[in-house]
Symmetry: C2
Subunit: 332 residues, 2 copies
Amino acid sequence: MKKLINSPDAVLADSLVGVAAAHPELRVDHDNRIIYRAEGTRQGKVALISGGGSGHEPLHGGFVGLGMLDAAISGEVFTSPTPDQIQEATKTADAGAGVLHIVKNYTGDVMNFDMAAELAGADTGVAVETVVTNDDVAVTDSTWTAGRRGVGVTVLVEKIAGAAAEAGRDLASVAAVAREVNERGRSMGMALTSCTVPAAGKPTFDLPEGEMEIGVGIHGEPGRRRVPLAPASEIAAMLVEPILADYDFTGGPTIALLNGMGGSPLIELYLMYGEVAKLLEAEGITVARSLVGNYITSLDMAGCSLTLLAATDEMLELWDAPVSTPGLRWGV
Amino acid sequence: MKKLINSPDAVLADSLVGVAAAHPELRVDHDNRIIYRAEGTRQGKVALISGGGSGHEPLHGGFVGLGMLDAAISGEVFTSPTPDQIQEATKTADAGAGVLHIVKNYTGDVMNFDMAAELAGADTGVAVETVVTNDDVAVTDSTWTAGRRGVGVTVLVEKIAGAAAEAGRDLASVAAVAREVNERGRSMGMALTSCTVPAAGKPTFDLPEGEMEIGVGIHGEPGRRRVPLAPASEIAAMLVEPILADYDFTGGPTIALLNGMGGSPLIELYLMYGEVAKLLEAEGITVARSLVGNYITSLDMAGCSLTLLAATDEMLELWDAPVSTPGLRWGV
């Protein structure tokens, strides 16, 4: 295993030291592994928090800031944060208007966020709403999940619901738009290589030269099938087709996210996006906004995922609103 | 070789299709492999162009836009663009105030940009100034270079000189600040793994498990030495020490770029930045601005580089000016 780390058990703690040093506009609670806005949540604004296992950076800590999250909680690599951590973040982020928990659908995350929501309510009376993302069309149940996994749409939920909160909407309204984004979003991923979890010291799964995994999860969970390596144009079809089979993206604007898994260079991600764009155009789908790059990763895995969102006009407007985070920034 | 490509000889062309599809604010001249601003260079503004072999994305095409480059020219992977391509970009970008060529110090790039500058002057009378970046302290001459290699400072030159051009300065003044940034910047890189050039189909060099290359170049050129794999804190020292031995960064603000080589995940890059920040603080160096992420890459190489710039107050002001490119965006 070759990694830029000090020791496998200190990866998260050491990385948070770097986040704190690099971003004076953020603060890090090192005990609870919470990244939050230095200036805190604006009084009366609905707070958005999210979190999960680390190893998916910039998700979630890289999306803390104006227009997105108020706080993000990190568990160890691919390990859910504890209810205590999440409860602490909920209390820290609340500014009197309640807190939206954005939770990717993994059993541990869902359980621990639920427990934290209950604790926060009982302890301090903070109102909590939860949106669970489950956009991955690859599998219905997985080794880590009951139901579909939550992946790329989580980035879009954080951006769009974050803008709704900045605009002053109340908790019910912010939660509603977050749920609507999840309902109208679909994703599919693939891997050329496994990732290597530092504590394990070896690749999570074997993927021989000449093969790839279609429908892989962001922790290296098995996908739909193992197939021979294929040209990018065919890989694009293997991502686009199951998404379009699951939801109708014609007749309105689409937001497209071509996401890198962490180990694939940008030149390849743009190449993949070019192939995806051709297929979408041929299907009469209008891409109104797009993102290409590493947004929800799986450590050093080589590969990519595609997320499509059938955006409403309201969602496009919220998408275009100013955002200022380490991972996503425009308009400010 | 596992890559998201159609065929090794179509990587650049196919990737540019994706760039054009993803960025309506940019245009791509596919024949000449030039990425330029859709609205063109503002009349009377000094134009900035840069380019080189591809495989270093987001450099250079990802830095085209308000506040940075007016156009970027791509050669094939790790191959200089031709004088004809560069001349074409020079003519396209010129808006009556002349053109600054930003050239990384590699023999082919320097030669071809020089020839293009002569051709553009003779052909159309466009005034051209050139800044050659040579910030890499690792080696004095290399397999690809007479003199030091140009690496991470190129990103800072493009940002700062780009802001000077947007502010309406003339060609001599923009060139002067670009040269000053290069003179006050130093870099050092390292690799955990080789990169794999698509056309070669195999890693550029062998780097056994348990070893790393200190002072590596962005094409996988040999560095200073091959050493046993070490903890991040020691790697940080191997990057910081030769930089500080070469230039005095105390007594003023520093801009720090902790750059990923393409295959290292963000969690590791932040971890490395944390280690670097500790060392700089211990040396009495004040980091005024920082960037952590993939900015000048070497395909899928795992590793990182550090660039420090002893910024003047003027440079900080230009750094903070609005920028809107795919790779760097703030204030707009």
